[in-house]
């Protein structure tokens, strides 16, 4: 990996994402944790930009930081979640950490070219270390719009997404409303 502006940007975004991600699960103050969550998701949107998916990057900021983040913060305020923060973790804390670390090691070995060092006979992950097979433009939104309204494409998932959101909204309103609770 050579030193370019792209690699520098990648490491900045990756560190932002992971560092804030760790703070999300360790910070005692739930409000701070939610702010770290937003910061972490912002890093993810930076990664999307590097992956030439600017539309998704904007959606990430708009949906996660603008909507889901606000929803989470409202819920924290409503439940006064940070009032009882004398115990952040439950009894599975150590086991959970072990599981997470082991899972990461397993994924790291199988996802990187390290696995090819183990001589399984064929190079399994060689293509993961190569450059993209083709260049893409930043003008993918147009194509996205064509695909989601294409009869042979994703038009059904597109409508189902709308249905799912409507159902979620109705369900959440029923659950959260005060008089029927």
């Amino acid at each position: 990996m050579e030193f370019t502006y792209e690699t520098v940007a990648f490491f900045i975004f990756a560190l932002t994402t992971l560092g804030s991600g760790i703070m999300v699960v360790t910070d005692e103050n739930l409000f701070h944790a939610s702010l770290y969550l937003l910061f972490s998701l912002f890093g993810v949107s930076g990664l999307f930009v590097l992956l030439v998916a600017p539309f998704l990057a904007a959606v990430q900021v708009l949906v996660y930081m603008g909507a889901i983040g606000i929803l989470i913060i409202f819920a924290i305020m409503l439940t006064r979640g940070m009032m009882k923060m004398d115990q952040v973790y439950n009894s599975q804390r150590v086991a959970a950490a072990v599981v997470a670390v082991l899972l990461f090691i397993a994924l790291a070995v199988t996802l990187t070219p390290i696995v090819d060092e183990l001589e399984f006979g064929e190079d399994l992950n060689a293509e993961l270390a190569e450059d993209p097979v083709a260049d893409v433009t930043y003008e993918t939104v147009n194509e996205l719009g064509k695909v989601i309204t294409d009869r042979n494409g994703f038009v059904l998932p597109f409508e189902v997404a709308s249905l799912l959101l409507t159902a979620a909204m109705i369900g959440a309103i029923v659950v959260a409303r005060e008089d029927e609770a």
């Binding site: 701070h32 600017p54 603008g66 983040g69 606000i70 305020m77 939104v141």
Partner: protein
């Protein structure tokens, strides 16, 4: 300018990067100085509308008043409350200004003269503005003050609600232009401005943008008489000035965005050819384009001011009702109506006025019909409500009369 730096012996990438930095600094500085003028302007205009004189002591016509205010705020002690969440309290005003300044990056001034022309330009603007709501929430929470938190929550409710009709209205120009690029939208208005094609969207955008920047009559965020001052109650000195600056800059920028989306942005007679070549850095400045954009933005800004000093403040339940029960349904149906009218007419052969006109007229007609329909529905509803009230009044009057007998 990049060439100049590469000639000086820098690598191409580094030169580009340096150019980016300098451009960013330049446009941001220019825009950050604009509120100094508009604050003076607004005070002066409000004074004239209310039959007062306005600032007239510092400098000619009081022009330096804002600068004096800034200097005063600069020397004020910045008090951080003892109970405050200090880091969040400190970051909030900075994030507030950031969320607004970053919008400047996609504003075009000429055909080939924009800081950057992102393929998702319009969406970028909305996404960045949504960071501002987080900043307000952080300010309210960080202050650790009941009023600040309540104010922040009310602001959030308002900003979040009015973002919906704003984006719905904004989808229409994107649909007509077939792109989210700022310059693409402006070029699509080459022959006819979108405000003459889809006036309903323009109006919805104007109203919801007023609410989005929290100007009267939607200024519940700082309803002094109701929640002291809202989320910025604990702020003082330059930190308060930054919250204030963010708000004012947002007000200016939303006018620029409106001008770009509906009034053709920098486009105008001769705008493409009136270039002023700057020496040394070899930059072709589209003077006429900048002038057109500024003039159009100012026109909208003046409309904002006019509304501001004429209409009284809304109550919060009316505010929310107006949004969710009127603007959002209207915005949704407007999108459908425009989409349909736009589709039934064939694609014009060229983008000249004569070829574009039939389709534009059909869309305009659909808009007019739609408005008439809305008026009918509202009239019907109002009559029913009125009948109800009258029946109620009659009942009570008769009851009182019979009790009197």
């Amino acid at each position: 300018m990049t060439e100049l730096l590469t000639d000086a012996g820098l690598s191409k990438d580094f030169a580009t990067f340096l150019t980016h930095l300098i451009t960013a600094g330049a446009v941001a500085t220019v825009f950050l100085l604009v509120p100094i003028f508009t604050i003076w302007l607004e005070r002066k205009v409000s004074a004239r509308m209310q039959d007062r004189l306005g600032p007239n002591r510092v400098g000619p016509y009081g022009l330096l008043q804002t600068i004096a205010d800034v200097l005063k705020l600069m020397t004020k002690e910045a008090i951080t409350p003892a109970n405050a969440d200090k880091v969040v309290f400190f970051i909030a005003p900075i994030l507030m200004v950031m969320s607004v300044v970053l919008i400047v990056a996609v504003i075009p001034y000429g055909e080939n003269f924009a800081p950057t022309d992102l393929s998702i330009g319009v969406l970028y603007v909305i996404a960045i503005s949504s960071l501002g709501t987080i900043a307000i929430l952080m300010a309210g929470w960080g202050s650790n003050n009941k009023y600040a938190l309540l104010g922040a929550f009310r602001v959030m409710a308002q900003l979040v609600s009015y973002e919906v009709p704003m984006v719905l209205a904004l989808l229409v120009p994107v649909m007509l232009a077939g792109t989210m690029r700022m310059n693409g939208i402006i070029e699509a208005q080459d022959s006819i401005w979108f405000i003459f094609v889809v006036p309903v969207s323009a109006l919805i955008f104007f109203v919801s943008a007023t609410a989005e920047v929290g100007r009267q009559p939607f200024d519940l965020l700082e309803a002094e008489s109701e929640i002291v001052a809202g989320f910025n109650i604990e702020y003082g000195g330059m930190q308060f000035a930054m919250l204030y600056l963010g708000e004012w800059l947002h007000a200016v920028l939303i006018c620029v965005i409106t001008a770009i989306l509906f009034l053709g942005g920098w486009d105008g007679p001769g705008a493409k050819d009136a270039l002023l070549t700057l020496p040394i850095i070899d930059l072709e400045l589209p003077v006429l384009g900048i002038f057109y954009l500024a003039a159009k933005s100012f026109l909208i800004y003046f409309l904002h001011m006019w509304v501001r000093f004429t209409v009284p403040r809304l109550r919060i339940d009316h505010l929310m009702g107006f949004n969710w029960k009127f603007l959002v349904p209207v915005g949704v149906f407007n999108l459908l109506v425009v989409a349909f009218a736009w589709k039934i007419m064939p694609e014009p052969d060229s983008s000249s006025l004569g070829d574009e006109l039939p389709r534009a007229l059909v869309v305009l007609a659909s808009n007019v019909l739609f408005v008439m329909l809305i008026f009918f529905v509202i009239r019907d509803y109002a009559r029913r409500e009125r009948a109800k009230v009258e029946a109620l009044v009659d009942e009570t009057v008769y009851a009182a009369a019979s009790a009197g007998d």
